[in-house]
Symmetry: C5
Subunit: 292 residues, 5 copies
């Protein structure tokens, strides 16, 4: 994710940032300009359409469908943003549960039980790093802090890594209760935090694996394509060669909305708009180590 | 559900995928083309309408109602997508609860209680498969793994199968507590997972059995039909034979939105856009067997 | 509620179903047609308005306000649909809690405590039936199954009937705990289900007793009325006698949206679009009796 | 709140109810009519603008901004309605929690502990009345039923009254547990109800004290004002003196939406659209007294 | 936050409040006026465009894109308002949890345990003040009330201050239980409140650190800029020098919506629209001190 000052209009309008859609759409925009110019030239020079040609009225169609395409793109943006924001909430919730579990374990565990303290101190942040890497289909042993006899090479990377860590966290809590270190009620008071890790992991996997239904994706792309491709025919009549920037601008607007939606729909990658889950994981480590 | 790369525009625009609405609407689109052509021919050749005929102004009506129909379709898409996404969340929650229950049972059950471990190892995934089949009004004995003396043929398929499995899961937990294997607090700490199965089942049944209110469905279809049927009268005047692709395109857009909404509204079937609940069930089996 | 196949366009478009808004609006539509015809005749034959009369431009007003009325109706439909869907969720939740309570009581109660089993077996479904009848301001003794010495005539129908049944369910659970049949933790594990009945009842009462704020209802009806009444003046100029079907169609669209919203806003009645709460109550009885 | 039959169109359209926005806006509507008439007269008689005057095209601006103002008002209505509906949900939840607490206390308290029963029988409804009065910045001793030695004059009305009652409810529950009348688990089973009172109170205070952000309120009012004030200039050209009802109607529509939103945004007062919290409080008293 | 009476239209429309967007946009509005005047002068006096110049039709583009820009701004306003409102809910929830914890501790702690009572009396409000200052990246020792031996200078301001206070609150509760002052069930009954502090803190940090995705911010600003910059070319043709107020008004509307959204998106600062978290913190102190 890019840190930025949302109030600084100047650089927003004039600088071409790496994540700017203008940059990504540039080749397409150039192609659209050439195409629109060609259509304008054909209409004016080759077909020499008369002033009352019906081609002029094709624009009626575009203004009729302008509503539908706008609403569809708004729907698309909304659903993509909701996923992005839900992903952010899930990681925020991971921060909260990591902190609360650390705070509670700090209060519950006897000072002398160094080993259990060390286990939670290492494994709570390990879970965040493991989840981050799991969502990016990778495993980074260097981000794993060994504790309680569990080292990075003991993890079976062909199986679900976050589950293995959640299992460590849960087993220790139940075994502390069986040993009498924790009472039954104390166990219940950390139950919500302990099970939240797996809930968060499952919800992130859901966002990752379920893009918008295939039919919407196909339909919206076909719709934008045909809308923009037919646009110069009607407009060239009224706008002449001004049709070139006009169609390019319309294309820029419609395609940008689809492009941004595609990018933020899966918020766990390393794109410019993706969530700063590397930083969040480091924060969890920092805070948990401050507490425990 | 179809796995796809949402960033690959080219194949989206030009390939006719099996789930593409163009494919399904093709016969209707051809019919609309013929009808629009007929209207254009009648206006131009038979009725020979003069340039100031009032027929021309029928388009005013279509632009007036264009906004209403767009908003209605947006409302329809939103509510259908919400069901689809809620269905996905429910199955995500089934994954989470299955994993958490397995993780906790793994920590709680003594190593030597092979039979109880085997029971949860088999029945947690059995529930997912039974729910999937229940939502499709079928029962597949080959997807049932026998454990604890319960085999596929013991299930009464004329009654609610997921309830029978939920009952097995619950009874074992309570009987373990009565035997003293689990303490009261340990029982409470798995209570949320145990009752979640039936909650998820009920919520899926709700989505399955409750489409959008009948009146909206009728009203929207009548509205689209009359809107498209009257469209060529006004447009043919301005567009001549260009009315044929224009009306076909408008019909394609409006009908696609209704068609996709219908399809995703019930997300538990085997259509191209439906949720991958077969795969999710297999995943639950895989992960639970890794854990327990 | 009407069971229907949402993919069957043909019958939707051409059949006049009982719940169809066309049917209900027919007298009004006929009146609007006569009124529009009268306006068209007055403009053409009596007032003999010239072609540049300013009456023609009244349509500007209608297209200006077309957005606002469409957005208002979308807002109206959304809020009505949300109530309908919330009502459905509440009854789905009643199903889930009834099943979970039955499943848990089945696991908790000793086989020999026939009387308590019989009590829950009868009273859980009785609650659903009582709530259904309460929401329709009626009481049907024939839908009450006696158990534990409680018969239909013992209920005080001048007081809140569902509360009396919730009290029976709760008292028995607490007295079972006082007798030592249930432990404290077992009691806690059924606490959520026991209190959910009253929560669901209260939420249904809220939906039933609170329609959309009075001012919106008045405002929207006044707005639609004046919008449609002034529509023919502007349109008759451009459309001549075509104004008759045009205004009728606009009226049909706007009034249908308001009409459907009114109907589904209170989803507990016996209208065609209302929720199938009779069937759900019977389902609860069937499933609870299968379980307990 | 006004009880009404939403299906009765006739009286809605033709009667001027007390809460009708027409009534409140009447002076403004008259002023707008005079102003529009003046503009129309100036254009036609004084400035004698020619037919191709650019003043005519000012309407382009109004149709361009028509979208924005409509969407803003829809956003305003949505956020105001959400508050109103959240307020209703909170009071519905107060009903549910009052009933559930009464039902549980009825089952938990021994028949002979008359004093505790009387305390909850009086204080649960007292809380609802106190909250209602607190939200209206008043205190009505006549709505307070004394019990357990606590009388209206013992309350410190300079401090937060609902908190004092919540404290009474909580202290009694904890002291019953300390005396052994309630077990620890029984205490936990009423914990959710006991803390809900303060949560509901805080949420109502939030709605009461936080209107829509100041900048939106200013911006929307300025926008409506300038939009309506400039409207007659463009329209008078096309509509002549018909501009008077036209501008008045547009003003009525836009201002009504803002007016209704303002009114329902704070739903705890005694306006016509406000929530029936007097009635709800009485209902809580009636039901709690039936139960306990 | 500014306290205001939303029903007072007069001052809203005519006074230039400090937080008014007109004030902030004034330099830009002046610049836009000059620019529009220049374009109008160039078109009329320098280029002397003929009446059928295609430049006139550029307005088609603006009305085509007017819908998209409106929907985008509505989406922007919605998402910013949702954050603002979520922030308000979180602080409302902090109020509720602070009060409930104080009420419960008051009931639970023995009268003679002055020291624990004093600790909660001081630390619950300290948490609110510390969170407020943490969200503004500051630390104010004068807002900290010492208790239980913990003074402002003992806090490590280089580390996460709210976490240190949450740790104090949690440790005391667990140590009271270890000492037998609280029973296990009593501990569980305050568990939700104790962990809510950290959850609220984490959620506020999430809102603070995550503005709308960078790409939307860039795209929207570019879109508004080019839309407004090209607007005078088309409009000057139809409106002449009236284009100056017209473009200024359009700019005022579009930029205000973006400006307000930017401002309320981060609601924890000290801007005019920000949440009154200073006042809320003081309220928490006042109420907690009344209770404990």
């Amino acid at each position: 994710m890019i840190d930025y000052n949302p109030k600084d209009w100047f650089t927003f309008v004039f600088r071409l940032h790496k994540a700017d859609t203008v940059r990504k759409l540039l080749p397409m925009i150039v192609a659209i300009c050439l195409y629109s110019g060609l259509v304008a030239w054909l209409e004016a020079e080759v077909w020499k359409l008369s002033d009352d040609s019906r081609v002029k009225n094709i624009s009626m169609l575009h203004s009729l469908l302008g509503f539908v395409i706008s609403l569809l793109l708004a729907f698309r943006s909304n659903s993509a943003y909701d996923r992005w924001w839900e992903g952010r909430k899930l990681w925020g919730s991971l921060v909260n549960n990591s902190r609360n579990l650390a705070l509670k374990m700090n209060a519950l565990l006897p000072e002398e039980d160094r080993e259990s303290r060390q286990l939670y101190r290492a494994m709570i942040p390990n879970y965040a790093f493991a989840l981050k890497n799991h969502l990016r289909s990778q495993f980074k042993p260097e981000e794993f802090v060994a504790a309680g006899g569990l080292e990075a090479q003991h993890l079976d990377t062909t199986r679900h890594v976050p589950n293995q860590l959640a299992s460590v966290l849960l087993r220790r809590a139940y075994s502390l209760q069986k040993q009498g270190v924790l009472t039954g009620e104390q166990l219940l008071s950390v139950n919500a935090e302990l099970q939240s890790f797996t809930d968060i992991c499952g919800a992130c996997e859901r966002i990752l694996k379920t893009p918008i239904p295939f039919s919407y994706s196909v339909f919206l792309k076909k719709f934008i394509f045909f809308y923009v491709m037919t646009l110069p025919f009607g407009l060239a009549f009224s706008l002449g060669y001004f049709v070139i920037p006009a169609v390019a601008f319309v294309f820029f607007v419609l395609a940008s909305m689809e492009l941004i939606a595609e990018e933020i729909e899966n918020p766990f990658g390393t794109d410019a708009n993706d969530l700063p889950i590397d930083g969040i994981s480091q924060n969890i480590r920092k805070h948990v180590e401050e507490i425990l």
